[in-house]
Symmetry: C2
Subunit: 339 residues, 2 copies
């Protein structure tokens, strides 16, 4: 590693521009009360020197830093990565960096670990993905630590400054009503894990739609998975044994929907001829399987962008967009109910 030549500091800029460092600081911070000529002169020196302000020093003087954290304990890699990308859409070009922090919400040290992390890194703010975002103790901890936070979740979970939410329940209801419109009467459900708010909302949307049309969701027609392909596969095998067989299955995420598709193929069912399948998420897997899955699109990337914006500007966080629409994405895994 070659010795790194010392980086130019604010002092170098000040000296070369023949001004005080406070004045240089003013151009860095875009202070309005500054002679235009002075500003340009300094800017020229900055460009010339390739000067970049040291964020650690700024952090120290401002008593805040420029790190935004992403807290998650999410089984789905694609979802987590999409969220990271969404946040970076907004963070790029600012002086903020994104630090990631997966956690194990089942660990007994969960709260202590994460508190230590926030304290130690003096995070400016964090975006919390479900299901961690549903943990009220954790949110309390953030408040106590004075760490800005935004939760990803459902409406009314928190105030607008601390929430980005999507209307999953309604979106699922509409999607299922579409299935009902296609003639489906026996619709089964591969549900998400117990304790996940997201799982609850999606199931509730299904029940809403069925109830609105006087349809039933019998006892055995709901089997719970863990949002993984494997668990979805097991659930689907069980559901497909029901007699009379369901003509449609709604799975609480795409990965499990892909598993349903698989299970259907295994017993020689045609999709959507014999069985319609509806997923949730609109992750790449939905488009990749054959036939491509109809699914409810969950705008997590836009939500992540919004969350980043709230974290960058906590003062106006409450005024920024908090609600997003999930919507049916029609592909080829849904069709008329078999006669």
């Amino acid at each position: 590693m070659p010795a790194r030549e010392p980086k130019p500091t604010i002092n170098d800029v000040a000296r070369l521009a023949g001004v005080s460092k406070k004045t240089v600081s003013r151009v860095i911070n875009k202070s309005p009360l500054l002679n235009q000529a002075t500003r340009e002169k300094i800017q020229a020196v900055i460009t010339d020197l390739g000067y970049v302000p040291n964020p650690q020093a700024r952090a120290l003087a401002l008593r805040r830093n420029f790190l935004i954290g992403l807290i998650h304990d999410n089984p789905n890699a694609q979802t987590v990565l999409t969220v990271q990308e969404g946040m970076l859409d907004e963070l790029r070009g600012t002086e903020f960096a994104l630090v990631v922090h997966p956690v194990d919400r089942k660990s007994p040290h969960f709260l202590a670990d994460i508190g230590h992390f926030i304290e130690q890194q003096r995070l400016h703010g964090i975006y919390i993905m479900p299901p961690v975002s549903e943990n009220e103790d954790f949110v309390k901890l953030c408040r106590a630590l004075g760490c800005h936070y935004v939760r990803m979740g459902s409406p009314r979970m928190d105030d607008d400054a601390h929430l980005v939410a999507s209307n999953d329940r309604e979106a699922v209801r509409e999607a299922v009503e579409y299935l009902i419109g296609l003639g489906h009467r026996r619709i089964a459900h591969v549900a998400g894990p117990g304790g996940f708010r997201s799982a609850f909302e999606r199931e509730a949307g299904l029940r809403d739609a069925l109830a609105a049309h006087g349809l039933d969701l019998p006892e055995g027609a709901v089997v719970r998975g863990h949002y993984t392909f494997e668990s979805g596969h097991a659930a689907a095998r069980q559901l497909l044994k029901i007699d009379p067989r369901p003509t449609a299955i709604f799975a609480a995420n795409d990965e499990m929907a892909a598993a349903v598709l698989h299970a259907a193929r295994e017993i020689g069912l045609d999709v959507p001829g014999d069985l319609s399948i509806l997923g949730f998420d609109d992750t790449p897997i939905a488009a990749h399987v054959w036939p491509p899955l109809s699914t409810v699109g969950w705008p997590i990337r836009a939500m992540a962008r919004a969350a980043a914006l709230k974290l960058i500007h906590p003062d106006t966080a409450g005024e920024q967009r908090s609600f997003f629409r999930s919507e049916l994405v029609l592909r080829a895994s849904t069709g008329p109910a078999p006669a």
Copy 2:
């Protein structure tokens, strides 16, 4: 947001313990020359106060910071996330944090963007995933910026201090020889994208094995994909039209292998009865599809751990483990060649 009560500083600790702050600094930095009694007294105050040293201040004084970056432009979410987790295995418990920085290596601003990011955040070090890790200009830039780096790649790409590598070529050769041992003679290949070193190595391993047994890899028996399910699916459809049909297909990653499986099912082939499929990566998808895929396990998590260690301790980076074994993981998608 409640006003955050000011965090205790080194001065508070010093005052309460009745020592100078330099002495407190000594216990923070585990200096050996310190009276045991003094140390304990100070430690008690630290614990009592819940004091955590401010990393920004340390960064400023030490002229280094505690951020380690992950640079990638990788199409596979699971791979990226596993790498993040591997790095965090080592970073957790240290004062380092992981900042993520996906890039677009095709962008004309690629080098400028990433250079600016490293400069601005004053990163301590970065771990570079393929295919970005193969970009020599970028590595040159890191050196010029005095930023420690470790590349994920293949043997002999760099010296031990800056590399973690796996023996993919040999591992593939061995896996393919296993297939040959099962009687397969017509083995086709869904290759990775051109320009990816990883794709090259995997294909080379296949060619090595075939050559060693006097077998041929005809022109049309290699179709290139982009490591995505979709591209793998298209490639597989093409390969399965070859007459006489291949009895085995090796795909350069699991996602494409899963797509081959799918394509096979579509035309009613039994796997592994009519067609054996071999993947690469050993990501969860390999275990989740049916039948579960035989694949070459790529120890990316262990590699990421090793890379993190090298970055945390750059002085001894060259002495730490740099080489990892990829190995055949046998599941159910491979079997004897059809008669």
